[in-house]
């Protein structure tokens, strides 16, 4: 009876994931090329940093690089006024436009707002294409959390504003069609998962920042998943195979076996599994991105780092990776267990976090320091006589250092040495 119950649960999970996979995330894959530079321009950027970290560290395509422009509160007006030019200055091949939350002006949907959004998006696509961008992708706006929306006491109901955002999303799709741009619907998966998370955890599980209307950690995870699926990522991070009878081990590209014996493999990896930041202190805490993983198959579809153990010496084995140990049946290990899923605090967490921090710092430079200095150059030239030459030099410095920063993102991730030990559990027989 117990076995049947577990099977039922597993089937339910598989069915759930299949449903999600087909209904929410199935969109025509957007083909990224090796060495593509992908610029995210939008009103909320953390998911883009995670995508950047994924593309850099997990290396589904070689040397794809992400730049992030724009920040909370951005609108298509800023996109046209400055963000387009900033992005073009670093020669991206692909630009993703993710706007709408502020473009709706927190009003009921109306023709003027929709038309303004349409015009600006169209102009932005045209400008980017004439600036040499191979592919422009437009997304819908992100979704809102009705509970945060109520807390914020905005002058419109969440239902009405959801309707506005939905209409803006339709406009975005139209523009994409007219301008021959790509399109990704990020609104629908985010809205549906917010609904599902609240059904399970209740209204206090806030999916956008408590003081604002932009995605918080959990929903950034959903957005990262949505984009990576849209990019057609296959999720193969690597596989390590140990034959416990012979003590030999093999591994796929990006993972080099340094040594092995019948119960231990030492590896050096330049391809990382994705690691979500944060400790799992509370599975109901939306600030811990792992809490949202129950709702979509991130690790199963995008983050498979498999350990396969052949010729196990016992029925159950204890696997230790980093600081964590877990017990698995020899059957499970024969089929392969996903280390990324089973060991959320694995040895890649710290180096992966360093990469996301690097992404964040780069974003701060492009959007903060570089931006401010370019504005300073303009203001100085307008106010200080005979300053054209030094201002031009400053602009060139900003441009060159931005390029250098961009180029530094194409290096290979630092190698991580790690050890997996596999020990028979006493008393378990095959």
């Amino acid at each position: 009876m117990k076995t049947f119950s577990n099977l039922q649960k597993k089937l339910a999970v598989i069915l759930f994931h299949l449903l999600l996979g087909t209904s929410l995330f199935a969109q025509a894959p957007i083909d990224l090329q090796p060495r593509d530079v992908v610029a995210f321009c939008g009103d909320s950027g953390q998911f883009a940093e995670w995508i950047g970290a994924y593309l850099f560290a997990c290396q589904p395509k070689s040397a794809v690089q992400v730049l992030v422009f724009g920040d909370r509160g951005g609108t298509t007006k800023e996109l046209l006024d400055s963000t387009c030019n900033k992005a073009i200055s670093l020669s991206p091949n692909v630009v993703i436009l993710c706007y709408g939350m502020q473009d709706g002006n927190f009003q009921k949907s109306n023709p003027q707002t929709l038309e303004s959004y349409r015009k600006k998006l169209s102009q932005a696509v045209q400008r980017l294409k004439s600036g040499g961008v191979r592919l422009v992708i437009i997304t819908t706006p992100t979704a809102l959390d009705p509970d945060v929306f109520k807390l914020k006491k905005l002058p419109i109901t969440p239902e009405d504003y959801s309707s506005t955002l939905s209409d803006l999303g339709k406009v975005a799709q139209d523009v994409a069609k007219q301008e021959n741009a790509g399109f990704i619907d990020i609104y629908t998966p985010m809205a549906e998962l917010i609904k599902k998370a609240k059904e399970k955890f209740g209204p206090t599980y806030l999916m956008t920042a408590a003081d604002y209307v932009y995605p918080d950690k959990g929903s950034h995870f959903i957005l990262a998943y949505t984009f990576l699926k849209a990019f057609g990522m296959d999720g193969d991070i690597g596989a390590i195979t140990l034959d416990m009878a012979s003590g030999t081990a093999t591994s796929t590209a990006g993972h080099k076996v340094i040594s092995s014996d019948k119960g231990k493999v030492e590896l050096e990896s330049t391809r990382y599994p994705f690691c979500s930041s944060g400790k799992s202190l509370n599975p109901q805490d939306p600030l811990d991105p792992r809490s949202i993983l129950a709702f979509f198959p991130f690790n199963q579809e995008l983050n498979r780092y498999l350990l396969i153990v052949k010729n196990a010496s016992a029925g159950n084995l204890e696997v230790t990776w980093g600081q964590q140990s877990k017990e698995f049946s020899s059957d499970a290990l024969e089929k392969g267990v996903n280390l990324a899923n089973e060991f959320p605090d694995g040895p890649f967490c710290a180096p992966f976090e360093a990469i996301t921090k690097e992404m964040s710092r780069a974003k701060s430079f492009y959007n903060g320091t570089a931006n401010r200095l370019l504005a300073t150059a303009d203001e100085t030239e307008a106010t200080i006589p005979d300053s054209h030459e030094v201002c031009e030099k400053l602009r060139k410095v900003v441009q060159r250092q931005s390029e250098l920063l961009k180029n530094s993102g194409t290096a290979t991730p630092s190698p991580v040495r790690h050890v997996i030990t596999i020990a028979p559990v006493a008393g378990s027989s095959k």
Binding site: T369, R372, T380, L394, Q401, S408
Partner: protein
């Protein structure tokens, strides 16, 4: 009672002058570039702005300028390792002031501070810095700091200030051993904090609402100690009027345009330092004037009236008028202290705003999240390409900063103003 309080204040002010500051002669030379180095308290452009504005407006000597090298979160060690050689020396400062320690007390041992400061002093001395002023760290606010950082335990502020006091002694010792200047910012702030809280209450925020970053009040005390440490003598100018002969003269920086019938017209290219705000507010500079002898020591703009035709005269300067006795006027009154709002207030504010913008640009170039930092990081990641770019780009940034800084100094415009003198009743 008022007399006793005045005596107490006078004594405390006197002790300030005698105990805390070392430089006896002006240490600045014409054209000096003064590097103001420190942490976020320097980067927030308050005391550093006061020092920068004073050096341009009050002109202890000609053509002085400042560069703000403040960086949020900086310790003496981080400054030594990441900024000193790559950032500061690129600008070839001839004078430097140091104010580190606030973050050192949070993150490192006094030994690390001592070792780092020693090396900083040596590197600056060996690289063209003619005069170096080591400042001790400031204070944390005894009211706000525990609330912000330590859940209300007032002992934490006491302990932190003791730790800052320890670093202050180390700073003084290092300055002595290396024959460079020292200014005791810490003791000056401790004293001013005690006095201001005694007057306005313990909740008066001397060292800022977070307890660490002072508002304008605490920053004026810091600026006072730094300017004293640079040896500024406070002579802004003297205007002398002989009402009997009808003769008027003025010292360098102030030109007599005309004098007749008690009406004196002047044009000045040297300003007194100007103060703002409600004395009771931490966001003011006026509130500190009774606790530090800023006007006496650094801001003497003296009017001497000889042969007054009356026992007392009404003196009008700008929109304000006050009555003084003939004896007071014959001995000389300090216009800067007596007329806090005066004809220089607005031009001073405009000049300060220009220098503030320059300091903000400095921090964009060399501060915490700055272009120089990125250049250094790019050089580290890619020594070949980034290293070559660093050399070239550094020079471009120095040229840009130099242009902006020159412009901020040039914003000192001549101020026309008049002083009206007429017989008055009893003062």
């Amino acid at each position: 009672m008022k007399i006793i309080r005045s005596i107490f204040l006078a004594l405390s002010v006197l002790s300030f002058s005698q105990l805390l500051f070392a430089a006896e002669a002006l240490q600045l030379h014409k054209g000096d570039i003064v590097a103001l180095c420190g942490d976020s308290i320097t980067e927030q452009t308050r005391y550093s702005l006061f020092v920068g504005t004073y050096l341009v407006a009050c002109q202890p000597c000609e053509n002085l300028s400042t560069i703000n090298f403040g960086a949020g979160g900086a310790t003496s060690k981080s400054f030594l390792e990441t900024k000193l050689s790559s950032h500061v020396l690129a600008f070839h400062p001839t004078v430097a002031t140091l104010c580190y320690g606030m973050n050192d007390t949070a993150s490192c041992q006094p030994g690390v501070y001592a070792q780092s400061m020693k090396q900083i002093v040596q590197i600056l001395k060996n690289n063209g810095v003619r005069y170096l002023l080591v400042g001790s760290p400031g204070v944390v606010d005894t009211y706000a700091y525990p609330k912000t950082f330590r859940g209300g335990d007032s002992e934490t502020a006491v302990k932190r200030n003791l730790a800052l006091g320890e670093l202050s002694k180390i700073a003084e010792q290092i300055a002595k051993e290396n024959s460079v200047g020292f200014t005791d910012i810490h003791s000056a702030m401790v004293k001013a904090m005690q006095q201001s809280k005694a007057k306005y209450g313990q909740e008066y925020l001397f060292a800022g609402s977070d307890g660490v970053h002072p508002d304008l009040n605490g920053n004026l005390v810091m600026a006072y100690t730094v300017l004293k440490g640079l040896g500024c003598n406070g002579n802004i100018g003297t205007i002398t009027v002989d009402m009997k002969s009808g003769q008027a003269t003025a010292t360098e920086g102030t030109k007599v345009i005309s004098y007749a019938n008690g009406q004196l017209a002047l044009e000045s290219t040297r300003y007194p330092f100007c103060f703002t705000g409600d004395p009771a507010s931490p966001s003011s500079t006026t509130g500190m004037l009774e606790f530090i002898p800023f006007n006496q020591d650094l801001n003497r703009y003296i009017l001497i009236v000889k042969n007054s035709p009356a026992a007392s005269l009404k003196i009008q300067w700008g929109e304000i008028s006050k009555i003084f006795t003939a004896e007071q006027l014959a001995a000389g009154i300090n216009l800067a202290a007596e007329f806090l709002k005066n004809p220089f207030s607005l031009p001073f504010e405009k000049l300060q705003e220009t220098i503030r913008k320059q300091h903000l640009i400095d921090t964009q170039l060399v501060g915490n999240a700055s272009l120089f930092n990125q250049m250094a990081e790019n050089r580290e990641k890619n020594p070949e390409v980034g290293g070559k770019a660093f050399e070239e780009d550094r020079d471009a940034l120095v040229q840009f900063e130099s242009k902006v800084r020159a412009n901020s100094s040039n914003k000192l415009v001549p101020v026309r103003h008049s002083i009206l003198m007429e017989p008055a009743g009893q003062p």
